[in-house]
Subunit: 336 residues, 4 copies
Amino acid sequence: MSASRFFSDNAAPVHPAVMEAMAAANRVDTAYDGDALSGALDAAFSDLFETECEALWIATGTAANSVILAHFTRPWQGIFCHQEAHIEVDECGAPGFYAGGAKLMTLPGDGAKIDLAALESALAGIRRDVHQVQPAAISITNATEYGLAWRPDEVAAVGDVARAHGLKLHMDGARFANALAFLDCAPADATWRAGVDALSFGFTKNGAMMAEAMVFFGGSGGAGLRELKKRGGHLLSKGRFVAAQIHAMLRDDLWRANARAANAGAAALAGACGERLLYPVEANELFVRLSAEEAARLRAAGFDFYDWGEGAARLVVSWDQDAAAVAAFAGAIAAL
Amino acid sequence: MSASRFFSDNAAPVHPAVMEAMAAANRVDTAYDGDALSGALDAAFSDLFETECEALWIATGTAANSVILAHFTRPWQGIFCHQEAHIEVDECGAPGFYAGGAKLMTLPGDGAKIDLAALESALAGIRRDVHQVQPAAISITNATEYGLAWRPDEVAAVGDVARAHGLKLHMDGARFANALAFLDCAPADATWRAGVDALSFGFTKNGAMMAEAMVFFGGSGGAGLRELKKRGGHLLSKGRFVAAQIHAMLRDDLWRANARAANAGAAALAGACGERLLYPVEANELFVRLSAEEAARLRAAGFDFYDWGEGAARLVVSWDQDAAAVAAFAGAIAAL
Amino acid sequence: MSASRFFSDNAAPVHPAVMEAMAAANRVDTAYDGDALSGALDAAFSDLFETECEALWIATGTAANSVILAHFTRPWQGIFCHQEAHIEVDECGAPGFYAGGAKLMTLPGDGAKIDLAALESALAGIRRDVHQVQPAAISITNATEYGLAWRPDEVAAVGDVARAHGLKLHMDGARFANALAFLDCAPADATWRAGVDALSFGFTKNGAMMAEAMVFFGGSGGAGLRELKKRGGHLLSKGRFVAAQIHAMLRDDLWRANARAANAGAAALAGACGERLLYPVEANELFVRLSAEEAARLRAAGFDFYDWGEGAARLVVSWDQDAAAVAAFAGAIAAL
Amino acid sequence: MSASRFFSDNAAPVHPAVMEAMAAANRVDTAYDGDALSGALDAAFSDLFETECEALWIATGTAANSVILAHFTRPWQGIFCHQEAHIEVDECGAPGFYAGGAKLMTLPGDGAKIDLAALESALAGIRRDVHQVQPAAISITNATEYGLAWRPDEVAAVGDVARAHGLKLHMDGARFANALAFLDCAPADATWRAGVDALSFGFTKNGAMMAEAMVFFGGSGGAGLRELKKRGGHLLSKGRFVAAQIHAMLRDDLWRANARAANAGAAALAGACGERLLYPVEANELFVRLSAEEAARLRAAGFDFYDWGEGAARLVVSWDQDAAAVAAFAGAIAAL
């Protein structure tokens, strides 16, 4: 079954270590986020990122992104993001909802990386008056919507622009683990050392059940963050079960091992795709040219994936898919 | 440990049958709410309520209440509720957030039941013009914030007012199971047969992990419900694990058994409280007179509970607390 | 015609001096609020209030109240006000709209003055946690909805509570002129010296056409005020015509003269009402017992006024109504 | 003075006939929009547009656009507009504020006219699921931000797309009069006959003081419009003075005469600009190539205008600027 499923890492199961951690958390404990597991998140992420972190669990990536961005932005301000960013395209307007109508200000860029010149040009074009929406933040996605990893120096270039204009820099890390597994650098290098103020660190796609972390480097700075989370209905009353998932993912670098497994599968698949590839494969997603007829043949053979407009498809490898599962699909593609 | 904990049913563990159902759901499946377990909720609640239901899972009671009320209300309208209702007092303004600034219009009433005369008087006092916020819905809580169960005929009296004024009737059922266990009636009698349009059916306090159902009787009527849920960041990508919890709670009436156990514990405790009781004990909560000195003595003996203003306390019995656990606390109270 | 109209000071004409000032402003000038008349408001109010003021024009009282309160409040916070305050009862939820869903927290009190003990009790009852809406501001109305003037020491008592709890104090002064004409004190005494942070200073009811001032004592403190005004669509492109109205009202204390005239009429009318009066008459409004039959007789005689629930009526005297006009109505009431 | 001012038609004076109408409205009358002048708007616009219209006054164009668009759109939906549209660029996010966080979905197009192919492509690219913001309306500006008039058949092409996809079509007519003066067609042809559902009909730039009309063709369809206006603080208590301005502008086609005068001035100026013109001149705005040095020389000679990025300028002719005023500027440009 896992052999045939390449449409989304959200369809993957939960890692056994996460299930065990949830079972272990099944005891009487304080409600909401007053429990020891929730309380230990700051320290866990501070260790991982080699700096003081403030970290809160939350059940979805959409909520993580929205709460962080709303925390950084007043309703009359704006947030720069790529025109194909998840927050722009796939969250039903959640960031605008949480931020009281703040505007997403979209930018172009290859492979869903914000083009730096376009960013600077957009900034230069905004009059500093009350008629125009003034930017408050920049959001980048790592790995991007096309599965590319932002290199630390690329992030730093955006971070420099952010700092120069007094903007906060947010990283949507729904697949941060996959990006890090590719970059093979310290988590700090890809984030706060490059100017990132807050990270949506995704675990759900990578082996957790419903667990993301909102990680603020150097503190969340200012009131309102926990109110936004509560007000959004995201303060689960048995929050220890979410915190437990995150701890399980961090323990012994499970997050990295899972991401490496998924990336390795994607790399193996990439070999079979050759000229079909629309983008280099750096994380666990592949975007490939595929005619409707070819797609139909693969589906007839039992493989499942996602159409990506006309003549293209998205293939996603999950943490649980072993070499054999990938090999079967790779063979089917190579045989087209 | 469970012997000493009476401060919140949110602190209780998850029922083993729920844990097993979650483990069983740990397989590859469709993302979001496209899976079979999510899809089977309509039928499950339709069976339970003996009418066609539309039912969606959601992870918290605050979100359930807010999404339903926002679905029923336009931003310039209002929602009648008791002045001590959870939506008014304990949700950080979530309903106003989800409903775009809609107003909660608070009413008095004994035991946190809306006073019918006050409701009718409030309705009579609203001019039908553009200056005044016009009501769109009424929300009642069953069991109430003081642990009282709304009888079907009491609900029906509110339902009649709602229908006469074109208002939707919402029931916050964070402890619906406890109310039903007390009423010992058909779920339909306490809800749609009495005029309820939608129910927030809570399972988390009663043995689930993070699972509530938004149940619409006769359909949710109109676009926007799923968009509100998604936009709030509440469409979990592995939603099957929430649906699984609900199915486990519905199977063999586990929800009712758990609620009966908690109610029985509360009844036993009530016997020891005697004159201390501020309200009749109908569900699993007790509100008792308790001086600061008495509270300190109980806490020194290891019992944990919640202060309720000066000279009073809230005691909550959870589904997992057996007769012995309750007896110990009852004894300590009787001995004060 | 003016002889028969006692239903609202919004129905009154515009004072000739205001019309002249608008005509004088009818020249080419900078757009929005970049003109000299708009720019001179700070100084004009600083003079009047004997302290440094930041003052912005706006076209309606609802907008003035909403923009000020939204400037003082984050969406998850609350604003204390009287349960019959205009912002609660008569603005279609505008403050909640502008403040992103912030909650109005209503309090009782005689004559629509907030009861100080109720305020302190409400403050004491709020847990400082993320579940409960935390207050950010208090709004009082001077003159109140029942035409009573807040004395400087009464305001100061609320101001002390505000300061002690870190809350901003807003005064809705839709009829501030009438209150001041009654109090006969320095405007400073009734406002910032008593702890008021911002005033909605109404001119429209008192002889202007569409002109209110948002007056901040000691500066508006922090970004966002002008954005809220613009974002609400309240930055009129020919704003000089609004500023001109305010300057005309301030010139030679026209605002005070007009208010005195209206108050004098109300006082004369009060003499005829005697036992009918529900509240002392301190400004230009009277609330009187009046049976439906009596109301009908007065209306049959050509007098127009506003019903105030069953068996009562509201009578309003405007700046333009002379002694003869009032005398006629007084006579008719006396003759009932 | 008017000879030198070409930076904005918002800087122009108010037409004497409008001033007279406002003076004539200065009598006792019903408050808000209950007066006869407000009530006569429906009929006045129904006459002008040869169909049944529902028309409301409002004080600013930003408010007109925002209220109409919010009336057409639910918070989770979107509004197509040109990427340089006033609602996107110059209103501080007002439409998003009024519409509860609804998204503006921007499109390219020459001269700030939405490109039809881009619109259709955008529509085709939206998956009909809960993750993506679904469009509810299209907004076009006539005349456009670059002073171009939408021809009736161009509007109809957009109207066809709107109807085919169930979208409302809004026209921002801040300079509708100038567009109509150029098109020389029936107002109906440029609006409802071409599929427009609602028009923001601007009068302020064209000789009024603060008066725009929200005109709905065939009725505004559904509750909430007046609530949005009130809730935004836009229900002026002496609304008769706004209605009076609109009636004055409609009387004897003053709106058309003023627009023709401004357009004629722009045409005269266009002759002097020759190769400098970036766009054809169809209304009262010119966009011209102008070096910084040339701009400085014109300003030194006393002419005022607006820079439009680097190396370009915007010149606007107002209704009150006569041939001599324009000739002086034209001469100075020709002499560069």
